[in-house]
Amino acid sequence: MTARETPSRFFRPPTALPVMMHPVLGVVILTVCLGLAPFALADYQLTLVATGAAYSVAVLGVAAGFATIGMLALTQPAMMLIGAYVALYAIEALGLSFVPAALLAVLAGLLVALPLGWITCRLDRFSFAVLGFAFTYLVSMLMSSNLLVGVTGGELGKPFPSANVFGMVLHDFTNYVALAVCVVLAYLLAPIIFRSTMGRFLIVMRQDDVLAKSVGIDTNLHRILLTAIVSAYGAFSGVLVGLASGFVAPPHFDVALSISLLAMALVGGTRYLLGAAAGTLILLVLPAMFNLTLIDRNLLVGVVLLACLIFVPEGLLSFDRLGRLVRRPPAPERTPAS
């Protein structure tokens, strides 16, 4: 590892960031939608929306990783599984309430991600992707096996226990409110993290890794941190998925889900904060609401993903017309003095 230096005084991080744009608008729209949903939707549809919102937190992590340094975060289902079962164990066996259980789950995700990040920070993108597939497969297999059957229920899974917040047992509507609050918090946190100095350094690394190193950015450290943050989002999402769906089973968090989460991130787009939510809505929630068979849902994900990557590579929320309607005027270009 290179000695850490402070960035050169001549280095100016970019001011206009092409990720997590319009965070305030995004959070407001998300909050309004989640707030109105109970009054506009039937019970079952609301369950689907809640589950989709929970998954969208994992998608947000994947989107952030891809948007910053082009990371293919295919370990996300493994982190979701770790988070879900740590929270489950904390609530069931340790008797913790929801908030500390969720925090413990996020911490577990971070702890697993740090060594993984250290291993993978030197790998190229495709190597990281293949390792991600392998890690997800391994975690799903281990959690399905005899080794942890007391915690995980093996391949058949376990019901997610009722949680309590500040002494109030969550069920039905209070469950939904807690979940909505958590999702909004996760979305609020993302632009704070990724529009910080660390986020800006990541953008520079994406543009030119060598340049980033030359101005003193510790690229390995930032890759590790990014892996940890993306994984923390995955772990938190796992807790929320358990809360929303009431059930956790290891086989569901497999390599196929890795691809689906990445597809949702790419389809929604990574430029705007709401891209993750949009991708999840289009590829997860709506197909379930329209009662498509699982094969048809997979087909839809494949077709939409392919079409987006061909025609709208920056995601569905990045239609030019829509972008012009809401985007601020671009910063004036700096041209060298002639």
Binding site: Y44, A244, G246
Partner: protein, 396 residues
């Protein structure tokens, strides 16, 4: 945690207005109107979550299809006490969490009277939810131990769990072909823990010896390593517990390595599935395979003709016959309820008042303290490349 968001979220005034309207309507309704979900004067609506796409598509399609055809036959003859049976099937791709969503949809949106399902993972996904909702779960096409242990007031099973299956068929085979040593080959997921222990206990109790237990994974990449061990151990029997296609590939490797056990291969019900023969890669010798067939006769038996005739142009597999059997018991239970069909009455009937009932294609069905209403299994073997009954008796 109970997913589902009932009326608490509505504004108090709206709730009060709704209550007033409801009371008015209720007072105007006929005195004998059914308020039970899924039950009307002319129909009873049942729901099924089934993996009609995905890895268990064939089994799920047959199970749901034959159950539907049984209901169609009954409906054509006038229904059950004047009510037609309607079956709503929703795909879950063989996944437990999707099955749970489907169960919520079936109850909240479709408003079904009772639910059934097929598949071990899918059944596990909805078991707790339906128990909390107090909705009958009727005769799923699954062999989960949790269906009957612990006994749940709303859940009724027709098909013996894996541990019961393997004990029954092992005992029968040892009785017929003689005592010998055995190697247990099992998939490593915990679902087979009890079955492996049960098999070992049965072998020991029958006077045999378990030489080893070999662990495999689902979709085992290669079977050569397992068969190498089998060749070293030289058991008289191989007792196998995994998926049908894995068992087929295991047989293929055994045949290639010349490691067939002298007395036979004994297995749980997936061994009686056509998928085993389709993946076996070649002919299976006669009297080599002995597979448990829970509750029903072997699908190719003459006794199963009534079930086969439900769909004359189709080859009925094990799960098709199970679907027909489940359908038959459901119809009989509803018939015995009479005009007043409620969930509470149904579960009370099935709990301890369901007198013995038999059709040509399954063993006697009756109430049981653990809610497993058929305790016995049939035994299938392979002759001339097809499954036939090894015995006309049902064994326990």
């Amino acid at each position: 945690m109970t997913p589902g968001y009932p009326m608490q979220r509505r504004h108090l005034l709206t709730a009060a207005a709704a209550l007033a309207c409801g009371l008015t309507l209720a007072s105007a309704a006929p005195a004998h109107a059914q308020s039970e979900p899924g039950v009307t004067a002319t129909s009873i609506k049942l729901g099924m979550s089934a993996g009609i796409t995905g890895p268990i598509a064939f089994a799920s399609r047959q199970f749901s299809s034959y159950m539907q055809k049984y209901f169609d036959k009954v409906n054509a003859a006038g229904g059950v006490n004047g009510r037609k049976i309607e079956l709503v099937v929703i795909d879950d791709g063989g996944k437990g969490d999707v099955a749970l969503q489907n169960a919520q949809r079936l109850l909240q949106q479709e408003r079904v009277f009772a639910i059934t399902t097929i598949g071990t993972a899918t059944t596990a996904g909805i078991l707790d939810y339906l128990t909390r909702q107090n909705v009958p779960l009727l005769f799923p096409g699954a062999y989960n131990t949790e269906l009957v242990n612990p006994t749940r007031p709303n859940t009724f099973a027709l098909f013996q769990a894996y541990e019961g299956q393997i004990a029954a068929v092992t005992r029968w085979v040892y009785g017929k072909k003689g005592v010998g040593s055995a190697v247990i080959v099992r998939a490593n997921p915990p679902s087979f823990d009890l079955a492996a222990k049960s098999a070992a206990a049965t072998v020991e109790a029958s006077g045999g010896k378990v030489l080893a237990t070999l662990n495999t994974s689902y979709n085992q990449p290669e079977w050569a390593s397992i068969v190498i061990r089998l060749k070293e151990l030289k058991p008289d029997y191989i007792i196998v517990m995994t998926t049908a296609s894995d068992m087929g590939r295991m047989w293929k490797e055994i045949a290639q390595q010349g490691a067939a056990p002298p007395k036979g291969i004994i297995g749980i019900s997936p061994l009686a599935d056509q998928a085993f023969l389709d993946t076996a890669g070649g002919p299976v010798p006669d009297d080599m395979i002995y597979a448990a067939v829970p509750a029903t006769v072997v699908p190719t038996s003459p006794e199963a003709k009534d079930a086969r005739d439900l769909s004359p142009g189709e080859t009925m597999g094990l799960f098709g016959l199970e679907g027909a059997a489940s359908g038959a018991v459901i119809v009989e239970a509803l018939r015995r309820l009479g005009a007043d069909v409620t969930r509470a009455k149904l579960t009370a009937l099935l709990h301890d008042k369901f007198e013995p009932f038999k059709t040509s294609f399954m063993d006697t069905v009756k109430s049981s303290p653990d809610h497993l209403m058929v305790q016995s299994v049939g035994v299938a073997t392979v002759k001339s490349g097809a499954f036939v009954a090894a015995t006309t008796e049902f064994v326990k």
